[in-house]
């Protein structure tokens, strides 16, 4: 297993304001695999990703990468192994930093040289023209911003990419472009994907296996084959499936 999550629980707050965002969720992702977490808003799927990155507190359970447990403050080595693309490209880029600064910053943190060429390569890798290099986020469209966010996540050449609804803030045509970009990048760079989405169709397109989540718990694990054949066991998954087919007339 490249990434294994075992009986993960995440709780926020204390006493009466205690919220259990994730309850006892387990799953595993093979190396170079692609895994989906599906559920409606508030089902805790994004929190799982944030817990893997150390952005949300793990109360119980284990997270393992390459068989080694990760806990506490994440190291620099972790940053070069796991990166994340956030949901809202309008909120995930620093508004006062140019694309160049956004992409150079991780290189500076990790003391990597040859920054100029790495930035150019990262931009080319996500299909952005070099003329975007010194623009600010407000001079870019949503799709372009998300490409910059993907470039930022990949510039440290991680092995695992966590995708938190990377296309849900984009309109349909741009969504397809970004998804195809992600599929291509995964193939080219042998990446392991964990993707969160509320859209079964998107996850079905991207992932070989998926976990359906509801109210912080894993409901049902499926593979692409089972999803295609509609061999689902729980009513909740069936209703999600129905919803993804769109409106019935």
């Amino acid at each position: 297993m490249k990434l294994a999550v075992e009986k993960l629980s995440v709780t926020f707050g204390q006493g009466r304001r205690r919220v259990e965002a994730v309850r006892c969720v387990s799953f595993g992702v093979e190396a170079k695999g692609s895994y989906g977490l599906v559920g409606e808003s508030g089902s805790g799927k994004s929190t799982v990703l944030r817990a893997v990155c150390g952005l949300a507190p793990v109360s119980t359970g284990r997270i393992e990468i390459d068989g080694k447990p990760v806990e506490g403050r994440r190291s620099l080595a972790f940053a070069r192994l796991v990166q994340m693309v956030f949901q809202d490209p309008y909120a995930s880029l620093h508004p006062r930093h140019t694309v160049d600064r956004t992409l150079s910053e991780p290189l500076a943190i990790h003391g990597l040289n040859d920054r100029h060429r790495r930035v150019e390569r990262a931009l080319a890798g996500v299909g952005l023209d070099l003329s975007f290099r010194f623009r600010f986020p407000h001079q870019l469209s949503g799709g372009q911003r998300q490409r910059v966010a993907v470039a930022r996540a990949l510039i440290l050449e991680p092995e695992i990419l966590l995708l938190d609804e990377p296309t849900s803030a984009l309109d349909a045509s741009v969504q397809a472009e970004v998804l195809n970009l992600l599929v291509r990048l995964r193939r080219e760079r042998n990446l392991t994907f964990v993707m969160v989405s509320h859209d079964l169709a998107v996850v079905n397109h991207m992932c070989e296996r998926l976990l359906v989540m509801q109210q912080g718990q894993g409901v049902e694990e499926l593979d692409r084959q089972a999803l295609g054949d509609r061999r689902v066991k729980t009513g909740y998954t069936r209703s999600l499936l129905k919803a993804s087919e769109g409106f019935l007339r």
Binding site: R50, C53, E105, R135, A149
Partner: protein
């Protein structure tokens, strides 16, 4: 490509380029656009010219002054404005008021510059650290800020000056020590709204430590509201300095500090009104200038004020 699309040569084209070629140019373009927005606000321009006038006056004081500021001439004492050789009149020692105002601008500007550099810097450090780390650090730093905020500014300055002795340096120190808490508050509030933003999470995920996050990512975003606040506070700083001078706790005679000049003119206020009024007008105009500039800057820099 039509003729109007052809790239225009020159600095203007470079400054409005939509496709900057370097970080420096990208920054210059942003600064130029902000300047153009500021320039549209004529009141801010009035404020800016007053402030620039004050700075030029301080730099070229020896050229602008008609008399040495400390030169006494008891025969010409208490001359009214527009008398020969003294267009703003003279004070009780026959010193030329215009020359004293001109030299006094250096003192006011020194006070303002020193306070404007130290207090926001200190406030920003405390505020961003408190907001970013949260928990115990936040409680500790903010209670400290609350304590400083709870004192009336002038009274605390008075106490400090009383403890350290009167003088312009101690007045500056006292004002700086009492001026920082509002900046810490502003910076903390901004930091708390930014701390959980995705772009901060992203840089954290890339392994950045707190110093890099605070200095490189949070401070630049707090800076604009702090700059606005500083500019609006300038008037208050000048007034506090003048107040301390007036009470005899700031600048000491014979320094041509404006507050001190008002204080000495108080004795003749009914018969020779100009001795107190002229430095009072100087304080008024400069304070107004800073306030107008601050309002204009807020419109340009504050992201919350809607563009018009």
């Amino acid at each position: 490509m039509g003729p109007e699309d052809a790239p225009r040569p020159g600095i203007r084209a470079w400054l409005t380029d939509d496709v900057p070629q370097s970080r420096l140019q990208a920054r210059c373009v942003q600064a130029y656009l902000a300047w153009r927005r500021l320039a549209q606000n004529w009141l801010a321009m009035v404020g800016l010219s007053i402030v620039l006038g004050l700075i030029l006056m301080a730099i070229f004081a020896p050229l602008l002054a008609t008399h040495p500021p400390y030169e006494q001439n008891l025969q010409d004492r208490l001359l009214p404005p527009f008398s020969a050789g003294h267009w703003l009149g003279t004070d009780e020692f026959g010193r030329d008021l215009w020359s004293r105002i001109v030299y006094g601008s250096r003192i006011s500007l020194t006070i303002v510059a020193l306070v404007a550099v130290t207090a926001p810097l200190f406030g920003l450090t405390i505020g961003t650290a408190a907001g970013f780390f949260g928990g115990i650090a936040d409680n500790l730093l903010m209670r400290l800020t609350d304590i400083f905020l709870a004192f009336p500014r002038l009274i605390l300055a008075l106490a400090l000056v009383a403890a350290l002795g009167p003088g312009i340096e101690n007045a500056i120190l006292a004002i700086a020590l009492t001026a920082w808490p509002p900046y810490a508050r502003v910076a903390r509030a901004e930091t708390i709204t930014l701390r959980n933003a995705d772009y901060i999470s992203a840089i954290r995920l890339q392994g950045a430590g707190p110093p890099r996050i605070i200095l490189g990512h949070i401070v630049p975003l707090c800076l604009s509201s702090v700059i606005v606040r500083v500019t609006l506070d300038m008037a208050g700083i000048i007034l506090t300095a003048a107040g301390l001078g007036f009470l005899g706790l700031g600048a000491q005679p014979p320094l041509p500090e404006w507050g001190l000049m008002i204080s000495s003119g108080r004795k003749f206020l009914f018969d020779q009104w100009w001795v107190a009024t002229v430095p009072g007008l100087a304080i008024f105009i400069v304070s107004l200038g800073f306030n107008l500039l601050g309002d204009g800057l807020r419109d340009v820099l504050d992201p919350r004020s809607a563009p018009r």
